[in-house]
Amino acid sequence: MTAPFRQQDLEDSALVDTRLTVPGMRCAGCIAKIERGLAEIEGIDAARVNFSAKRVAVRHSQGLDQGDLVEALRHLGFEAQALAENPLGSDDKESRALLRALAVAGFGMMNIMLLSVSVWSGAGGVTRDLFHWLSAIIALPVVAYSGRPFFASAWMALRYGRTNMDVPISIGVLLATGLSVYETFAGDGHAYFDSAVMLLFFLLAGRALDATMRTKTRAGIGALLSKMGKSARVLGPDGGTSEVKAEDLQPGTIMLVASGDALAADGVIEKGRGSLDNSMLTGESDPASVEAGSVVHAGAIALSGPMEVRVTAASSDTVIAEIARLMDEAGQSRSRYTRIADRASRLYAPAVHSLALLAFLGWMLAGAGWYQSLVIAIAVLIITCPCAMGLAVPAAQVVTSGALIKRGLLVKDGSALERLAEVDIAIFDKTGTLTLGEPQADLSLLGEKQRQVALALAQTSRHPLSRSLADALKSEGTRPAQVEDIAEGEGQGLAGVSQGVPVSLGRPEEETTGMASLLRIGPEETIITFADGLRADAKEALARLSQQGIASRILSGDRQGAVETVAKALDVPATAEAKPQDKLALLEELRSEGRKVLMVGDGINDGPALAAAHASIAPGSASDVSQQAADAVFTGKALMPVALAISHARRCMAIVRQNFGLAVVYNICAVPLALAGVVTPLIAAIAMSGSSLIVVGNSLRLAKVKK
């Protein structure tokens, strides 16, 4: 029995695990296709999809590397990137700890309730004492375990001389538990174990919801990250090449840049010529031609090559790093934003404390004795403890973000939703935001035969234009023609033979204004032009925004002409040729006018503006920098999620305000009873769970997605 196990272990040790992110998986079919397709490949032992995180974990032999896996997934029809490690693991830990605390509190609550109900319904004498003892035995460890998140936070606040929502919660829970233990020993009166544990349960439910929402959307955003050049192929002194991480690059090193690569560092071209897509860096949509001696910047993507680039500045000295510094400074103002729950608790916590204290003093003065006064003060604390308030905000926000995820928008956290609801002007970047940011082939000039040949040639290449052409043709239902001997000459395009006729797809000989490819079939030549088209629903999305009272304008780093075309098509004012600093300055100006700006942009050059704006959204195709700076990320080809984000956020805040209103009404009804000293543990328990359920129910109304 043991021998085969050892054998298995040995084999396993020769396998390695690679995790890849596959943002494109949408359905059960995708899961099956990926898992089966990969498992069929030689050297792959098993593949397991995590659909929520849009990831695939592949167990494979060391003979395969990440590139092979990415290529294999591309053949299955999915874009994929290898993942280094989980940068967001800590969030996950937090929500797990909260879930555990919630489970323990739920266990305690149910069992203590079981015992309490018996006491309320008339169990007396020895039985009642026994039940109180049992409740104490359950409640003490449960409070100690599940209360930690609140105790820790309250202690932190008190140490710095502040107070937050967790202070009255902690005091209420600890006092109620302490008093109940005293009563259990004394063997008479009421025990409040059920109230204390139930309070913890409902509050933990709110916290756990909040944390789950963050983990879920961050996993989604994590799946989109890491598209940029994080490493470079470097030419060694002996003529060999090796892969070097971006942060380890040294000035003077020679990088090899092939078409499709993103530059990992700033540099000067030593050898070769080609064209670069600078749109992420500057917003310019037209590719720039570069040749030996040209200066190039990290973040640019090579459209053609190959080139040899001598690194002049690496990692922290690059233009990208400069923009990142600008972004850090710009983000300061947003961190000063206080969330609505904190604003509420700033008013609420002192009021609760003073009310409980007044109740205690009042009953003392009335001659009730310290014990009875204390019981009433605790009842006031428990009744006013913000169960419903703790759930009011997270419940509504979780439901909203869930509805938005279904529409292709990932909101990073609750504060983002609150800020999105407040914006009154929207500023759009052009390239990659209003437009798709990738070249779209114009197929109208191509005949059937030309399409088939073009597809046969284009699908063998990794050049961005070829890929885009192949995708466009495939989506039109074109089937590739028979083409033999396809060869890709570096910088010369693709050539092959179809039915005895030489065919080729490559760069046009004369310089054209935009991006174009030349298709040759025998002597016949056709130019295929590419343009970066507007998102199909851009106009409707902007109209929807203006319906909601939000004016839009374009702020782009691209040339005047290109920006004007788009501005005219969408009928919005535009500013062109704006540098990152200019974008920041405009935002600052709008802010000083008291406007709350929504910034929508994708490029690295938009990063500072995204960080500085009141709220910001980036498309899923955006640079890492922008996605990290933005409050929300939308995926897919539509722009409508941006408009939906605003309307959903506003609806969410309306519900949050309703929830607060309900909580206040509940307090107005319950507090006089508590002050009058007529609140028994039973009334406290019913009032508390009732108000929490009403708040949750009200929030669930948000799940009905309006078209």
Binding site: C27, A28, G29, I31, A32, E35, R36, A39, V49, N50, F51, S52, A53, R96, L99, R100, A103, V104, F107, M110, N111, L114, V126, T127, L130, L134, I138
Partner: protein, 50 residues
């Protein structure tokens, strides 16, 4: 009263069992991919072991 002495430990034991199973499920990663679990039911013939 004697009935309670039997029933209460049973009730508590079942509760604890549920709690222990929840902890196990969480450690085992059962909640890692809830959306995926919902989708997988639609895959026709999942012949490989789970």
């Amino acid at each position: 009263m004697s009935g309670l002495l039997v029933l209460i430990p049973i009730a508590l034991g079942l509760g604890l069992l549920g709690l222990a199973m929840f902890f196990w499920a969480m450690r085992d990663g059962q909640f890692e991919d809830l959306d995926g679990a919902a989708q997988r039911i639609l895959i026709d013939d999942e012949d490989e072991e789970g």
